[in-house]
Amino acid sequence: MAILSTVFARLRALRRSAHADRDLDDELRAYVEARADSYEQQGLGPAAATRAALIEVEGIEQVKERVRDVRIGSAISAALRDARSGARVLWRSPGYAAVVVFTIALGIGLNAAIFSVVHAVLWRSLPYPNPAGIVVIEADTRALPSAYSQSGAVFDVRAQSRLITSTAQAEGRDGSLVIDGVMERVAAARVTDDLLPLLGAIPLTLGRTLVTKEDADGIVVKGVVISHELWRRRFQGNPRVIGQRLMVNNFDVQVVGVLRPDFRLVLPEGNHAEERVDVLLPRDFSPGLLYRGLTAVGRIAPGARVTEAQAELDALAAGFVASHPSAYPNGLRLTVRALSDAVTRDVKPALMALIAAVGFVHLIACLNVANLLLARAKTRERELAVRRALGATRLRLIQQLLAENLIVAVLGGGCGLLLAGLGIGVLDWLRPVHVPRQSEIAIDGVVMVWTAGLTVISSMAFGLVPALAFTRDAHGQSLRAGSLQLRSRRLHRGLVLSEVALSIVPLIAAGLMLRTFVNLLNAPIGFDPAHVVTARIPLNLGAFSTIDRRSAFYRDAIARVRELPGVEAASVGGALPLAPVQATQRVWRSEDREPTPAIGVLQSLMPGYFGVMGIPLRAGRDISDDDVRHRRRVVVVDERLATLLWNGEAIGKRLGVGESKQPLEVVGVAGDIRAREIRDSGTSVIYVPSHVYEIEQTLVVKTRAPLSTIGPAIKRTVEALGPGRPVFDIRLMDDIVKASIDNTRFTMLVLSGFAVASLALAGVGLYGTLAYLMSQRTQEFGVRLALGASAASILGLVIREGGLLTGAGAALGLAGGIAVTRALRALLYGVTPLDGLTIASVVALVAVVAVVAVGWPAWRAARVDPTAALRAE
């Protein structure tokens, strides 16, 4: 810091100060005049003399420039001198340097890693032109009972809003792609015509954007836009790809356009869209989708603000409710928010928690370094005092001490960046399922600048304390005796106490997240994922054109798989509980004229599904093969819905679902399961036979055989039934459940890492400080022992000191932690921020670390040899 500030100060003074420049100017003018005078004396006329003088000078500006260079050059060389002497000092004590550099590297490295995540995910603007104008529009689905059943009475944002100039919808889905007979899974999305223009993705690399009127015929897709990456990979970048045919999701389609290479589809998580989308399918805009929970993307008029758009929509919605009261008995609430906010909403609390925690780690690291520097400055007390007495100014000494710090800080920062690179690798390895813009996380220029800034500021912060403390003495008092002893001891203690206090906060946070994670693992999910193998079996609709053919295929596949050795039971269903994409529908009592709203997760299945998944039937019967053969419109509801709609007497009742006019007959009641996410215990699930709701199905197989043998066997068996029956994505149900809490696991693991780091740093600080303080009191202990004190009393003395420091620090930390961890509430499950068990565990952990950290110095202090100690001086 000293170097930089000196350089900058001189640069400023000389480069910019008009004063210095005027002086130089005057000086040179005087010179030119003097020279001209002497030319005149040699016989030249006045004008010719001045010209000769100017020619001789060879340009006043050039001379000035060279003088300025001299000034700056000497400032830099002074700074370099400081740096060199600092490097020499460090070189002489490599152990100390290594500890300091490592500590700084740890603090800076963790910070840079988390910062690069937060920067990429939260703070960098979205990869679209004018991203601030892009918003999402969400409807409060609970307020709407059955907007479907009253189609026509749907408020259309798109048609009526003035400030929202264009709107589009997009919904991600899995895609299966067949090109030249080779099938692969790709990320697909159904998008309305306006999406690509709205996001500024026009013009495409090749071809045109989607036009639903031309590229679709009802639900039959005819044209698609593909990604740049897919075009390069599967079409070898052939420019004549437009018009080529391929199979997408069993539709025979042709390519109408190729996206730009940098296009990413960044949408809120609820839209299930993958950022690196490979295939875009056409879809019509439908206000109804908005009411089903799918957000719409919009662009607000240039210059308009999100709040203004919100006010406009509020007014429009109110007007609509007034004119169609029966359609919206619960009112209508549409929310507009910036796309960037909507995208990051789910991960923001966790990321903020992580960045806060990493801040604590960094603070502890800084305190540790300050402590080390303080102890070290102590050993140089005499050197500094001598130099002070010989006339070095205080500023000069501080400058030099700070230069030394800057060297370790820069080394630490450099190592920190390496560590951050490693850290990002680890974070990627721990990868949660859905972090928006994950692929953009990297150490880029912004991260570098931030890290450099952090390094400089930290080195300033932790270097200034000892530098000030040890240069204050102007009168050479410390030449006489250790007069600073007392003050610096207090400083040491203060620093260690703060370290212990600071380390408590990440510990509590990690503890709470650990409890949350365990609670999620142990939550009653209502089904038994153990020993269930799943395999997706999307059908080629060309080969299976009727419902009966498809049902027959499922029946055959189940029967064949059941015969495999080691298989106990098999069925098909979809979407599986806790899988990322779930179908939700509005459900209601069909006999009601004014239906009560409820949202239900819809699962489609074949007989035997409940048995394989271990979902208990509480009343009525399972869906039977007879239901499938006769295409009966039957449904099994869960207890939650049975209670909600019919006070538990659901069998034989009729259930309205989604847009369908025909109700379903309730034939059974199943136990409650957590289908959307483990934290969600409030959403009902309804089960219908696969012919009622045709969605891509998944084989579920109960077996104790290992995945590595049963997986290929299932694939072989089903694919052997004939072509058009691909089997893929074979995985354990357990893994699907685990993947559903990946975000929590990620936060928990990273927070735990930080907690361990801060505890270790605090432990090292505690140990180092006590060991140092005790080594300074060796003589005192020697005297005490010589005067008859017992070794036990010395031991007690040290332990009391360590205990007091730890105790006070822990108490302070707990108070702070309780205040701070409230912010974690959104991340927790089944545990409150004031969890007694967590707090007790943290205290116990800190106590254990303290015993170790205090124990060793205490043991050594008690074994001081009085004669040796007294002889030492």
């Binding site: 000086e27 040179l28 005087a30 010179y31 003097a34 060879e58 001299v70």
Partner: protein, 111 residues
Amino acid sequence: MPDPVASLVKGTLDLLVLRTLELQPLHGAAIAERIFQTTRGTFQIKAGSLFPALHRLEQDGWISGEWETPPKGRRIKSYRLTREGRRHLSTEKAAWQRIVAAMSLVLESSS
């Protein structure tokens, strides 16, 4: 005409300036003139070499500049040798004399 000073080592110019100022404080043009006269025209020091040298010596603390305003005309900056500069000059002088002696021994020895 090539500037002979340009080919001189930096220390030589410094030495010339310090020695010139040892006698009396002078301003830039007078320093150049004095050196020109004393060396009988061997060293004609130009502004582009002189002023950087002056400012460097000033920063090193060997000379110090002061502004003077004569009764008529423009203010001028004149430089004088500091105590440190005087000490530095004497050691440099000694060193220079050793170099000159040594060089003479080499150049004038009959092989």
